[in-house]
Symmetry: C2
Subunit: 450 residues, 2 copies
């Protein structure tokens, strides 16, 4: 007898068991539905790309995260696994945009891989769910991005969440005002650390890394830390530029104001969009609107959906300038948060089926499958137990998995033309005629349907 | 200015553009729905597994197909990309079955990777959609597998397809009868070539490879080539064993008969299940029922959903014996067939949205998004054009993507409180009051709804 191989997952990789997977599929389904409802169309790209496509996007450290893939047939092709969905989308856009035309709105959902050290909540394989509008600089697309994020979390079943919004044009305007337009990148990198290291340390770092005076750094922080209602924040920021009007800042303010107006017009609840001039997402990739999304009851896990506007998506692959805006839902972080918050989409069920048809008498399989088939026809998922084991054993199975109803019939019931329908949680059993089976089970499962 | 990188996909890999991706998502959605309707629950496993899990499953040739994955941080871990969903499921089952309990019904959908030479319709990355029932030897699970396949293709919108079914027990019974039980594997491998090389060559090969006489090989082929109605085939096969009853063959016949009976009882159309004793799927992995699925109008592409019963899923990883039955939908082959057959799920649309709201006047964005929002609330997907370009340009965009309706309003319409609703195919335009907008658009899009 040969030795057994220990079944295991690789470090940083994981399996999804039924309960969590059912929740993941629900979230993906909601995301797909919301993205589509705004006219975003699905696309897909391969897991593997040529290394030249993947490398050099964020320096040596970033390149080290890219998994190399090699065929055992020892081909020369240098391949790697994608580390996000943005780089493949940039490559895709360059390749097909003349065929697709602009504006082009796409969503993509799938796993990405990063060879990082695994840690609490940090995996080497995780899912992203991105949506982007490219080929337009219009604020209409920026506004829509915020509406999509709001609809997305509402569809998943969240009420208590906040989309924090900023616009880089404000900071850029301020830097122009102080003649610091060329220090944007190091200033943003320092500013991004504000929640972690606090104002004083950020100023210290700005002075050191961006060669600004402490006073100038202070002004940047004054802008970032402006607080109040959305209207108060915008009014105060306008105040920064009263003496010396600045076109960039004015455009940033106009865009934020219009976002709030349209949001209110379509009925986005008060407080859902919050102007927060401190969010900046570190990356110099973003050039306009910035979005982060926080769950009110679990702010500590960080943003669960982030994005922004960029000037040019695919400059590495095409001369065609493709400005755009988009955001990415972090599926794994969100599902982890939902587990922690005991979100109602995590039902505790381990099966998508609601009804178990008990196999009491194996010679009656046709009757059991026929009853199941009638229920499936009206959209009720039904499992028929595969073996004619003891009824108690089959009911224990049903309870463990989270079925709602069990349907049982043996010789006596078949003679009478009835089914015993058992509500598993209440342990109530009623006899239902065969003709009434579908109607009665529908009523039991959907008591609130009219 | 730096040189552009040529955007391209790797040889054997491909992108999915909107039109095909929309069809793929519909097929995946139908498959998910049908699998769930029978109580199969989703699970997911990583793309990468330890090499020791992946290698040695089908000899050296098979091992060469496995893509090796390596972290640039030069870790020792030997990893590979999964080449199917069965090996990861076996590993998964061994790891969690005591927690999950049996019977366990799962589905899994995702890409798999094989470093094969790419060719017409053969890619290095392709999707599988598997469902399996493990932990039972019951014929109820075998029968259900056939019902699932039938429901699956009906749900995708096929009427003309055939599930061909065999049971290995018949052949095993015949081999016992002739004292050839130990020649099963080479005989199956030769038999599998029947459609390609014909009867005479198969007999020749059987004589050579399985060390049987030409007469014995002829008997095996007589069994495999038995034709007629399902009942005729089963009666003739019974005839093979009249003189010397054989328990295996009798069980095989009983199982096939019961499958046909239950199929008829649940209303599977005549001719959908066809007993075909020539299908054997080469692999010695299968031990009982065998399934292949052919599209009547495109039989040449081969089976689009195949599977069978196996004695022990995870013997490499656990001592627990896990018999089971399942099948796998080949998504890419099916979608290719659908394209060739101009299947109605391939609508020619390049957008999931049905309505385009034209942006006539950029200062009215709130009105456009509010109208869109009201339509989305009743489940109608709506895109708002991001820029206030010329109306003709926006309508050309809508026609190219396959939108059904365009909704237009400028100053005059806003003054009158109406929207112009344009049916793009018919080029008919009607004015609709703002209050009636949702109702009228619903009617236009769903004329057959009551």
């Amino acid at each position: 007898m040969s030795t057994l191989i220990t079944p295991r997952t690789l470090s940083g990789f994981r399996d999804y068991l039924p309960e969590v997977m059912l929740a993941r599929e629900k979230v993906l389904d909601k995301a797909r539905h919301v993205y589509r409802s705004y006219g975003f169309t699905p696309i897909d790209t391969p897991a593997a790309e040529a290394l030249e496509i993947l490398l050099g996007k964020g320096g040596d450290e970033s390149d080290k995260l890219v998994y190399r893939v090699r065929s055992a047939r020892s081909e020369k092709e240098e391949m790697g696994l994608r580390f996000d969905l943005t780089v493949p989308f940039a490559r895709f856009a360059a390749q097909y945009i003349s065929e697709l035309g602009t504006p082009f709105k796409r969503y993509a959902m799938g796993p990405v891989w990063r060879g990082e050290r695994p840690g609490h909540g940090r995996y080497r394989e995780f899912w992203q769910c991105d949506f982007d509008t490219i080929g337009t600089t219009s604020n209409a697309a920026d506004i829509e991005t915020a509406l999509v994020i709001s609809d997305l979390f509402a569809a998943i079943g969240f009420e208590r969440f906040e989309v924090r919004i900023n616009n880089r044009l404000l900071l850029n305007g301020l830097l122009e005002l102080y003649g610091l337009a060329d220090r944007g990148v190091p200033l943003l990198r320092s500013l991004d650390k504000l929640p972690k290291i606090g104002r004083d340390k950020v100023i210290e770092e700005m002075v050191k890394e961006a060669a600004v005076t402490a006073e100038q750094a202070g002004r940047v922080l004054d802008l970032a830390e402006t607080t109040g209602t959305n209207e108060e924040v915008l009014n105060r920021v306008e105040g920064f530029f009263t003496a010396t009007p600045n076109a960039k800042a004015a455009e940033g303010i106009r865009r934020l104001r219009e976002l709030l107006e349209v949001g209110a017009a379509v009925g986005i609840p008060d407080g859902r969009f919050r102007i927060d001039l401190s969010i900046c997402r570190g990356l110099d990739y973003y050039t306009g609107m910035i979005y982060e999304t926080f769950l009110t009851d679990l702010p500590g896990i960080g943003s669960v959906c982030s994005g922004g506007r960029y000037d040019n998506l695919a400059s590495l692959y095409t001369k065609q300038v493709l400005p755009g805006v988009g955001a990415s839902l972090g599926l794994d972080r969100l599902v982890a948060a939902m587990e922690e918050l005991e979100h109602p989409l995590l039902t505790g069920q381990k099966t998508p089926a609601e009804v178990l048809v008990v196999q009491f008498d194996s010679s009656r399989l046709a009757d059991y499958q026929r009853a199941a088939s009638r229920l499936r026809e009206v959209g009720i998922p039904v499992e028929v137990y595969p073996d004619a084991k003891k009824v108690g054993q089959q009911l224990a199975y049903a309870e463990k998995r989270g079925f709602k109803l069990a349907v049982i019939a043996g010789t006596t019931e078949f003679e009478k033309g009835v089914w015993n329908v058992k509500a598993l949680a209440k342990r109530e059993e009623t006899a239902v005629t065969d003709a009434e089976l579908v109607e009665r089970i529908s009523e039991l499962l959907r008591p609130n349907w009219v």
